[in-house]
Symmetry: C3
């Protein structure tokens, strides 16, 4: 069994932010020697998300943050705010989801020319832990 | 091959509701004896969703239901309502998605401290069938 | 290892459109001879999405397109529009996501009675490439 799981941390620097983490994911795949299988990228927090989209223009990340901020705004009457004051962050993260699965073919991620791996932060700044979990098959 | 697939049912009790189903998923993983691989949780209906987020405060589920209810409201002019009167339920479920994949490492689900598995009901009350599908690797 | 990856193309015919691609995915699974594992369907573009929902009424696809069009409208001030004029397409695709994973059990996709595989186009018409990536296990 050639499966492997590696972890890395991202120190986010603002309350909301987007990062291209493609290179770190590709490094794990390259080092694993796995020729074929699945690569799952999961952020181990409930106010962050992993997204596959274009990062060649980083403004796409900013547009996503702005759009979700308007659709799921901060509000005094979110029930979770009675406890933790970050309900809107949970909402935005829930809609995007904490994980993506990517095919591995011929030892590389199978993605389109304009698809890269984003980490979205909705409740920073914090240290965020990401797992890259590879399954051969 | 140690793969296994188990099913369970949830009887929902309201038109919209959220449930923490983490324990049922963890039971399937523990009984499988699988040390490493992937766990897919999928609800076999198109007006429900599976979400990974914090359930320690159940109000997060209520906030998600309310937010999606406002963003994708019931309306007379959804085209699907000509047939079935639950278009808004399909919309909300489509945005969250019916399934999540979770890594299995050392015989356990790999999730963050504040990540659990939610089932969301958008068109209840009904009996809802969930599959937990495990692949070793 | 019985894993396999196949590709097909869809020629979309409008700027926004939804397609039931279930039969093409099921064909790949049937031809593979894989009895058990995972089937990932991924569209290799960042302004399209793959969704599991009901296609028996194609109006559900139209309602999803309309709803996302209203929630994430075309606007002059999306930052990405300085470069490419399709920011809203990226937003809508990001929320739905480019891929779905489906269990394979007894040689078939494990889906509910009302669950099928949709391709959503948000920036057509174009030729869109879809990968069906199967892992045995």
């Amino acid at each position: 069994m050639g499966g492997t799981t590696e972890f890395f941390e991202i120190e986010t620097t603002a309350s909301q932010e987007s990062f291209d983490i493609s290179d770190r994911v590709k490094d794990v795949v390259a080092r694993s020697g796995i020729a074929r299988g699945l690569c799952q990228v999961i952020v181990l927090h409930s106010t962050c998300a992993i997204v596959l989209n274009e990062t060649a223009d980083p403004n796409i990340g900013k547009d996503v943050l702005r759009a979700l901020g308007e659709v799921f705004p901060e509000r005094d009457d979110w029930l979770h705010n009675l406890k933790d004051d970050n309900a809107a962050s949970h909402l935005r993260a829930s809609v995007l989801g904490p994980s993506e699965v990517i095919p591995i073919v011929d030892g590389e991620l199978l993605l389109g020319k304009w698809q890269e791996v984003w980490l979205f932060e909705f409740d920073g700044p914090r240290a965020r832990r990401v797992a890259v979990h590879l399954v051969e098959g």
